[in-house]
């Protein structure tokens, strides 16, 4: 029963994807909009195929993916410890709240022009911009996860002689882990957006964003632009799936993922 409903969901999903691709093909061909503006699916997939088999594009995807991983890892390395600190010392969390509420809404993209001047167009600038945007979901989900920790479990550990740090690492962190992972999943999407944007506006260097930016000059290469967007979307989708899979298979003790999506 369960298996058949899962497989029929997969079939329906595949039909949906196929319908989406066909719709793209039809809209591209019947000429509501000029073909050079919105090329049909086959052109886009063709361009994607050409790009994938062309020499440079693999490097561009790799550069984007590598920078993205570096940015995400940096955001995790800052967000999780900071979240642990703020989450286990409520007073600190409370007092720093206003600072966070002013910093968080500053769009990272608004920092790109400044950071291009300060750090150049390379990896440093991209990582900074990604971290500034991606650290918040990790931080908030970690704090939120710590607030949801069963007080009884903490008291038990404490009465068996565990210190503050031991309680935080052995009890609070594992119990908050699903929330942290949700935060990382959200952060991954954000970081990818920022990496591609930083490449797009940064101009120099390599990456999917640079490919899109180069192809969008002039008029003829809309299929390359869409193929680049498609590649970035697939990258994001794969990361999301990988993180979801990791969550389901490593955090077996907490089988229900928390947090908003």
């Amino acid at each position: 029963m369960a298996v058949s409903s899962v497989s029929s969901a997969v079939v329906r999903g595949a039909i949906g994807v196929a319908a989406f691709l066909v719709a793209g093909e039809v809209i591209g061909r019947i000429g509501i909009v000029a073909r050079t503006y919105l090329p049909p699916t086959s052109d886009v997939l063709g361009a994607l195929w050409q790009m994938l088999s062309a020499e440079g594009f693999g490097t561009d995807v790799l550069v984007t993916a590598a920078n993205w991983m570096l940015g995400l890892a940096t955001a995790v390395a800052i967000g999780v410890p900071l979240g642990l600190l703020l989450g286990s010392v409520p007073r600190l969390n409370e007092v720093s709240r206003l600072v966070v509420e002013f910093l968080r809404p500053i769009p990272s993209v608004a920092l790109i022009p400044l950071m291009v001047l300060v750090l150049g167009t390379g990896t440093e600038m991209r990582v900074f911009v990604m971290v500034f945007a991606a650290v918040w979901p990790i931080l908030f989900n970690t704090i939120y996860g710590l607030m949801e920790v069963d007080p009884l479990a903490k008291e038990t550990a404490r009465s068996y002689g565990s210190g503050r740090l031991a309680v935080a690492l052995r009890v609070s962190l594992p119990s908050a882990a699903p929330f942290v992972l949700t935060g990382i999943r959200l952060a991954a999407t954000t970081a990818l957006i920022l990496e591609v944007t930083a490449e797009y506006f940064g101009g120099a260097g390599r990456g999917i964003g640079t490919v899109i930016s180069v192809a969008s000059f002039g008029s003829g290469q809309k299929d390359v632009v869409l193929a680049g967007a498609l590649a970035a979307g697939v990258l994001g989708l794969l990361a999301n799936l990988a993180l979801e899979y990791t969550g389901r298979h490593t955090l077996v003790w907490a089988h229900q993922p928390g947090g908003a999506r």
Binding site: V95, P105, L114, V116, T189, V225, L237, G259
Partner: protein, 283 residues
Amino acid sequence: MTAMMFKAPSHGLARRAFATAPVLARWAVLAGLVALWELATWRAENPFFPRPTAIAEAIKEQWLSGPPSRLFLTEAVREDVLPSLVRLLGGWAIAGVLGVSLGLAIGRSAWLEDFLAPVLHFLRAVPPPALLPVFIVLIGLGSSMQLAVIIFGVIWPILLNAVDGARSVPATQVDTARVFRVSRLRWLFGVVLPSASPKIFAGLRISLSLSLILMVISEQVGSSNGLGSSLVDAQRNFSLRSMWAVIVLLGVLGYLLNSGLLAIERRALRWHLGSSGQLADTT
């Protein structure tokens, strides 16, 4: 903030700290950090990092030195800030209406959801800036392009959260509504929408911050007015003071918008807070 905390005794320690820590302390910490920033930039004398007082002066010069009859707002406010605000709120509102109505429809039909889920998740994963060039050729430069970019970029959290919320209407409510044969309209507005609304608000909150981001991006390439375009102008002229002024203004704007939405959410979801103690997760 404090009012809701008193209602929620569930997380004893954290909640008590929230209620007792004075608002004053938060502002003191903020002021202290700004003072540190002033000191550090004053010592460093780095041209890329002007002192906060200089930034404040730039903000005052650019936007707050008008005549008292117009609340001290300068002409530049109408050029920089107003168009940005209109685009941001307009795009967000349209995405909200579209996202909620589509999301509720999809969430109430398991069949429809199966068909659309992979496509929706893919579309959400496409970085909206990557589609900027496509929107530019399709729509041309100008406000409608910016609106389209904002709508396309921010609709997914709202839509997916609405799907999630609509899916999780409690079974007793579904059965009760069926037994009483409530009209479709009442079913939608009286049962589905309320039970999905906490999730929807969580989505709206994520989308509001996203709107701010996309507003800036779209104005950086295709606009002659708005904060994004003044940022680009400042970069071209190497005017770091104005650049910082725009960044700080964006932070203040984001803070005000967020607090406004939170206040509305608290009023709208008061019934929900009473039962479960807190708002849906903020991200």
